[in-house]
Amino acid sequence: MADPGLTAALQALRRAARRSSVARRFDADAEQVLLQTIVDATVALFEAEASSIALFERDPDRLEFRVAAGAQGAGAIGLSVPPSRGIVGFVFSTGQPLALSDVLSDPRFDRATAERTGYVPRSIAAIPLVDRDQTVGVLQVLDKHTSPTFSLRDMELLAVFARQAAAAIRAARVQRDAYELFKSVLTRLGDSDVTEADVEAVVSAATTGLDTDEEIPFWRLVDRVAQLRDISDRELGLVTDILEVVAAHAARGRRSV
């Protein structure tokens, strides 16, 4: 019999992967959207008080909490910690996953940082986000409702989520890096008549091609839906109705094949 925890995790990951592709079409902030999906799924699966992802940024070197979820997660967003401090710093510096429970028994344990988030946890699990041979950040989970500690199984599941997050970060960064690269090359090549807007137009035309499956109807639909973001609730209701009819029709079509 399939393990319900694992099935739930795999479903969550499939949703995350699909959303990653869709999000790239919707806006440039795909990384943020997908990372948010991952911490949302982590909180749900682990039944945890909070989950968050910190990414490494330079100048100065720091781990910046980019997304968080859960009842006690919000306080962490935007917070930066030095990579030389605390559990998150250790896991980032060594690439070695770690879980601590009974954190409060050490009165000095990372309390300053924890208090800045407005929540001092009793237990923490943290796992590195590894992209090829580089650690790019840390995924952490605070306080499961169901248990005062994290099991080996928890750590394994968390590693699956961390892999997904690392892949998302890479995808977003490849896209961003390609965009920046095109832009700098074009700016250098172009003479003074080329405006910033011209460069932008050429770059977006070039980088859009990085998304595969251009001709698949699903992606055309995604693009159309993306254009509908600003419409009113009434119009949105109408579009939803139409999509439901389309979905039902598609399902009938698939059965008849």
């Binding site: 510096s93 879980a99 601590l100 050490d106 344990f109 590693a159």
Partner: protein
């Protein structure tokens, strides 16, 4: 006298030379009493390659002998004396577990982590080389490197350690992808089991991970004299390291290969746990 017709690598096995191959132990008779009965770790030097051991921490019980760290100046790694402080708490946790199992070991702290050494494989490598050169008999490495560029250098120093009879006890990293030296064949690669007993350990005949030791909800020493409870392969490795130190204190001169063999003989019986 050596036989000029015999290739050099075969000389140790020539009849007149074979006396030198006689070992102190008959492994078939190995049990825990033989392996470490009455052993305290006395006379064994253990290096903790990590975040720097906190010398005054109660779990270290005054067993810290020397502290060094690695400085990187103009891409040159240099080993220099260090304060006996811990940047995170992790090295102190590992040292505490080793001392808990082998109370009379001598601990050498080699700090390769910290504000200036973030993720620097070169520092890790330099620390490892230093410990091999400084005559420790065992090392605990609850960390690993993923730098492909450094792979051949790690391979070389791990071989040097093996040939100098230094037991390298390494926590494996569960994060996918190559990570070393924990995946090299000569080291003692360790992952965690959840049985709360420091002397319960398993031998896995299907490498790369050969040993399973307690690594779930382990009470540990942490930064600034503190304590906490931790889970991770990081805390399984020092359990194996402590047991290795015990064996080496009772049987000085055993090679890493012989220590592994003895450990395999006395490993916990999976059918009894």
């Amino acid at each position: 006298m050596t036989d000029p017709l015999l290739p050099a690598w075969s000389e140790p096995f020539a009849p007149e030379a074979r006396e030198r191959l006689i070992r102190s132990a008959a492994l078939r008779q190995v049990d825990r009493e033989w392996a470490w009965g009455g052993a305290t770790g006395a006379g064994v030097k253990v290096a903790i390659i990590d975040s720097g051991v906190e010398g005054t921490h109660p779990v270290v019980a005054g067993r810290l002998v020397e502290s060094v760290t690695v400085e990187i100046v103009d891409d040159e790694a240099r080993v220099v004396p260090d304060e006996p402080i811990d940047m995170y708490g992790h090295a102190t946790a590992c040292a505490g577990i080793v001392v808990g199992l082998a109370p009379e070991v001598e601990i050498y702290s080699v700090r390769v982590l910290g504000a200036d050494l973030r993720g620097k494989g070169a520092a890790f490598l330099a620390g490892l080389e230093w410990a091999v050169e400084h005559g420790v008999q065992a090392m605990n490495l609850s960390l690993s490197s993923k730098s492909e560029r450094l792979f051949p250098f790690f391979h070389e120093v791990v071989d040097q350690a093996y040939f100098k009879n230094v037991a390298l006890v390494c926590a494996v990293n569960n994060v996918p992808g190559l990570s070393f030296p924990s995946t090299f064949s000569s080291v003692f690669s360790v992952a965690a089991h959840a049985i709360a007993d420091a002397e319960t350990f398993f031998y896995n005949p299907s490498p790369p991970v050969e040993w399973g030791a307690w690594g779930v909800d382990v009470p540990i020493g942490w930064k600034d004299g503190g304590t906490t409870v931790a889970t991770g392969n990081s805390f399984a490795a020092p359990h194996m390291c402590g047991l290795v130190a015990r064996i080496l204190s009772k049987h000085p001169g055993l090679t890493p290969f012989e220590v592994k063999t003895a450990l395999a003989a006395i490993a916990s019986d999976p059918s009894e746990t």
